[in-house]
Each structure stands twice: as structure tokens, then as C-alpha cells.
């Protein structure tokens, strides 16, 4: 990163100037994105668009590059080639993208309460020396209510259950007024009832016209709860309606020998790797 870019960000942060949104452009356009690490290619030639209010699951085996793709879109990881556009613009000036981290990336002993963490979503809009204003508190409280966490707002974050931790980060994304929320494996480690609850929240986000992009490793819930899915294994192997993308032929290409096909009443049920994801 050059000093010039850094200064630009500094002045942007201080002046709070942001890029305008053009409603006619897709919220996200990914063009020819490739990422190569020293150890090899992580993702290659990814192209797709997302429209406002869509919900898309990225599925694929471990090491397929799901997290890498999300990180490139969030601006945390630089791509080797290609570009990302948000509402038809360079992503630099936008703060409408939120990234919900995997739970193991967070220091749960950090001395902050739930509402402190959610208020962090507002920091981009607040100025120096400023305390949160009425509008900031309103947004934070509303976000907490939306995910059903308003009763826990004063808790220190280590006292939360796994599902509550996840909901807190979604509330933070809402407080950020994010229009595109990226979630890295939000369902990992959640039991079935918590997963159902998470999908209720995702459904609610859709009614708010928030666009959601989720990485996910369970093919069954992906095809059940997501209209559109992307099958990824370094390259994009398919994108579209779940039943058209998650075909046995495509899955064999994506998962190779790791795939287990189980015959059921209505055809073949494909089981991907159900457990554990190293987050690559």
C-alpha cells in the first residue's frame, strides 16, 4: 500500500466523504479475480455479479478458496488480477460492506460489551473526539433488536453462546448500515435449531433488501436455503439455481474422490465435507 493511498484513506476518514451509490449498477461486480499465494493459486478467473437483495451461498471443498474470495471482496486481501466494483465504483470509498468473521478469529476476552462491539460498526461514520450520537444509539439498539440480542447488550462478549456471538456480528453489520454482508462459514458449529434461527435472520435481512454472500460447506442446507449457489474449487464450476448447479457431475468435478453420493428417494444426495473447515 502506498503512502498516497493511506493519506487518501486518512482524509476520507476525517472528511467522511463516501462514494455515491448508483441504484442501476449491480451492488457487486467481480471481474476476472485471481489470487495467487506463494504456495499456489487460491482462486482463478472468478466472474459474477450480485444484485441488491440477493442471497448467494458459495460452496466447495476445504481449500477451495471460499474465504479468499470473501476477503478479496471485503478488501482485506489483495487480488493478483481482476477487479471488484461496488455499485459500479472502485470499492475504496465504500463502507457499506460488512464482513462477519469466523468465531475463532476474535479475542473473546477483549473488555467490550455486546453494544460496544455493535457500536464499532458506527466508527466509520463518527468523527474524532465524538461520542456516539442519538442516531448511532438508535441504529445500534435497532440492530440488536433485529437479531434478538437487545437483552444481552450489556454482557461482556465472552459470556455469549455460539449463536449469540454470531448474531452480535450480524447486528454490527446492520449498525454499519451495510448493504452487502459477507459471512465466512456462519453456520459452522451451530446445531440444527441454531441454524434454523440463523436462516430466519437471513430471511429477515432479505426483507430489508440487504445482500448476503455466505461461504458454506454443507451442500444439503445450501440447496435447501439458498436460491442461488456458486460451486467453487479454485475456479467457478457453476453459478445458478441450486438444483442446476449442484448436479452429481459438477460435484464430482469439485470434490473429486472426497464426495459421497447417497441414493435417496428423489435422486442422489451429495454429501460434501460436513465437518471442519480450516478457513482457507
Amino acid at each position: 500500500m502506498t503512502i498516497l493511498q493511506e493519506l487518501q484513506k486518512l482524509s476520507q476518514h476525517l472528511s467522511k466523504k463516501r462514494q455515491p451509490h448508483h441504484a442501476d449498477a449491480p451492488i457487486l461486480r467481480v471481474q476476472d479475480i485471481s489470487v495467487a499465494f506463494e504456495t499456489g493459486v487460491a482462486i482463478k478467473n472468478i466472474n459474477f455479479e450480485l444484485n441488491v437483495g440477493e442471497r448467494l451461498a458459495i460452496v466447495g471443498p476445504n481449500g477451495a478458496g471460499k474465504s479468499t474470495l470473501l476477503k478479496v471482496i471485503a478488501g482485506i486481501q489483495h487480488s493478483t488480477e481482476g477487479k471488484i466494483q461496488i455499485f459500479g465504483h472502485d470499492p475504496g470509498g465504500h463502507i457499506c460492506i460488512a464482513y462477519v468473521p469466523q468465531r475463532n478469529q476474535v479475542d473473546w476476552q477483549f473488555p467490550v460489551t455486546v453494544s460496544d462491539v455493535v457500536m464499532m460498526g458506527r466508527v466509520g461514520q463518527m468523527g474524532l473526539f465524538r461520542n456516539p450520537k442519538d442516531r448511532d444509539w438508535k441504529l445500534v439498539n435497532h440492530a440488536l433488536k433485529t437479531v434478538g440480542m437487545d437483552l444481552y447488550s450489556k454482557r461482556q462478549i465472552s459470556q455469549l453462546s455460539v449463536g449469540q456471538q454470531q448474531r452480535m456480528f450480524i447486528a454490527r453489520a446492520l449498525a454499519q448500515e451495510a448493504e452487502l454482508i459477507l459471512m465466512d462459514e456462519p453456520l459452522t458449529g451451530l446445531d440444527v435449531s441454531l441454524q434454523e434461527e440463523m436462516f430466519r435472520i437471513l430471511d429477515h435481512l432479505q426483507t430489508l433488501n440487504v445482500t448476503v454472500l455466505v461461504s458454506h460447506h454443507d451442500l444439503k442446507t445450501a440447496s435447501k436455503h439458498f436460491e442461488r449457489v456458486m460451486l467453487l474449487n479454485k475456479e467457478m464450476l457453476g453459478l445458478g439455481m441450486a438444483d442446476q448447479v449442484l448436479t452429481p457431475e459438477n460435484l464430482v468435478v469439485a470434490y473429486g474422490v472426497h464426495l459421497h453420493l447417497v441414493p435417496t428417494d428423489d435422486g442422489m444426495l451429495a454429501l460434501g465435507e460436513m465437518y471442519g473447515d480450516d478457513g482457507t
Binding site: H13, G92, I97, Y99, V106, F110, P111, V112, G124
Partner: protein, 281 residues
């Protein structure tokens, strides 16, 4: 009782020492909250030690004038912290190794430079362990100005530093100037160390940064609470330590640090006992 409290205060050097210890305690405890939460204790200790060549050069150049020492110490601290960052970013060497390389090298350079001056009027021990009772009015002004700079900057960037420390990824997606903020925080730590140099010396400065903040961390769940409680522990320890030093004739810097450590131990012990009694009930 009143006589015990009043007696040391008839000496101007004691009054200046107490003021200095309190000011340094405030500045270090506030900065220390971030040091503790970000796991930078080793970095802080190393940075304090790597100031030594700066002091030596300052001494050779300025002949013992305090502001000169101060500026050279600050230059050495900032150069070291930037050097550590540059090495760990540009090579495959991990940060703690880079810290070890720079810290030991700078410290050795400082010892070497000081050993070249035979007629050294001020003891090396003063730099290593502090000389809080030798503080002059001009030193107090330097502490007030630079300590004030640190406190005002942290007040201004409190939220940004909190986001940066808790969730660097959020800082990126909020488009905060992450690199500038990181560097600013390193500079603030460096300034806090230089400010506390005369009070506790390079060897014990890390205690001022870490111990009160860590003790406060044990009893609070909020970042600002950690700063407020840390400041209270540090200021009380500064005053109590100096009285202990006066009445027991022990080194002042060590007395202050030991009081901080004892406070930490008390809090930790109290919590352990309470936790045990909870289990046994």
C-alpha cells in the same frame, strides 16, 4: 500519621518526584491498556531498552542537558519501532524475533557508547533503573507536554484504536487508515516510554506500561474502565512507592514498580480465593 505523610513533602525533590510518578503513571496506564490487549508487552520492554543508545548519544552531544537526552531517546525509540516493523514485514522473520534482534543490538550499542566515556558523571544505573528524585522542573514540563500529547491523541482516536485492536478486519472494511493508526500507536507507546524513562528507567518501564493495565483488566469488562482503574492503580502505586522508598531507603523506581506488582498480586489473589470459594460452596 499526618507527620508521616508531611515529612517527605518538605523536600522539593520529593514533591517533584511524586508529581512525576503520578503523571507517568497516568500516561503509561492509558497507553498500557492497548499494550496489554494487543499482546505487546515484549515489544514495550524491547522499545524501552533500545532507547539506551539514544540517551548515550544525547549525553555525548548535549553534555547532560535533559531536553537533549529526551529528544535523542525519542529518536532512538521511534527508529527502533519502525525498524522492527520493517524487518517483520519485509522478511519471513516473525515479529518477536525482529524485536529480539533490534532490542539486543540497540541496548548493546548503548552500553558500548556509555563505556567509552570514562568520566561519566551520571551513573548508568540511573538510566537503567530511573532517578525519579533527581527530576527538575524542566523535566516536569517535558513530561506534561509529551504526556499530554499522548493522552489527547488517545482521546481523539479512542474508538479507532479500539476497533484496530479488537478487529483489524473491521478496521479495513470501515476503510480506516490502518497503517497510519498502527504507526501512530507505536509512536504513542514510544513517547510514553521516553516520558517514564527518568521515573523508573529503561529496565522497569515495561512494568509501568503493563502491570497497572493488567491489574485493571482483571477487574473490569470495559476498555475505558480498564484505563480509569489502571490510572488509579498507577497513581496510587507511584505515591505509595515513593513513600516506601523514602522510609525504607530503597531505590525509588523499584519501589514504585514493586507497589504496582503487589497491587496486581492482591487483585489476582483475591479473585483466585473468591473463585475457589465459589466452587467449594
Amino acid at each position: 500519621m499526618i507527620a508521616i505523610i508531611m515529612e517527605p513533602l518538605q523536600y522539593a525533590f520529593m514533591v517533584r518526584g511524586i508529581i512525576a510518578a503520578v503523571l507517568v503513571g497516568i500516561v503509561c496506564a492509558v497507553v498500557g491498556a492497548y499494550v496489554v490487549l494487543r499482546g505487546m508487552a515484549f515489544f514495550g520492554d524491547a522499545l524501552a531498552h533500545s532507547i539506551l543508545p539514544g540517551i548515550a548519544v544525547g549525553y555525548l552531544v548535549g553534555g547532560g542537558i535533559r531536553p537533549t537526552l529526551f529528544w535523542w531517546a525519542l529518536i532512538a525509540a521511534i527508529l527502533s519501532s519502525l525498524g522492527i516493523g520493517a524487518i517483520s514485514r519485509s522478511t519471513k522473520i516473525k515479529e518477536d524475533t525482529a524485536i529480539g534482534v533490534i532490542f539486543a543490538g540497540m541496548f548493546a550499542l548503548g552500553v558500548a557508547l556509555i563505556s567509552t566515556v570514562r568520566s561519566y558523571s551520571v551513573d548508568l544505573a540511573h538510566f537503567l533503573f530511573g532517578d525519579v528524585l533527581g527530576i527538575q522542573n524542566s523535566d516536569l514540563w517535558l513530561i506534561i507536554i509529551f504526556g499530554g500529547f499522548v493522552l489527547v491523541t488517545i482521546l481523539a482516536f479512542y474508538k479507532e484504536f479500539m476497533v484496530l485492536s479488537f478487529d483489524p478486519i473491521l478496521a479495513v472494511t470501515l476503510r480506516l487508515p490502518v497503517r497510519s493508526l498502527e504507526t501512530l500507536l507505536l509512536v504513542l507507546i514510544a513517547v510514553a516510554i521516553v516520558v517514564s524513562l527518568q521515573t523508573v528507567g529503561v529496565s522497569l518501564t515495561v512494568a509501568m506500561l503493563v502491570t497497572p493495565a493488567a491489574a485493571a483488566y482483571l477487574i473490569t469488562n470495559r476498555l475505558h474502565g480498564m484505563m480509569i482503574i489502571g490510572v488509579s492503580i498507577a497513581t496510587i502505586s507511584g505515591v505509595v512507592g515513593l513513600y516506601l522508598s523514602y522510609y525504607l531507603s530503597i531505590a525509588s523506581g523499584a519501589a514504585i514498580v514493586l507497589t504496582c506488582t503487589a497491587t496486581f498480586g492482591l487483585i489476582w489473589g483475591f479473585q483466585s480465593v473468591r473463585r475457589l470459594s465459589k466452587y467449594n460452596r
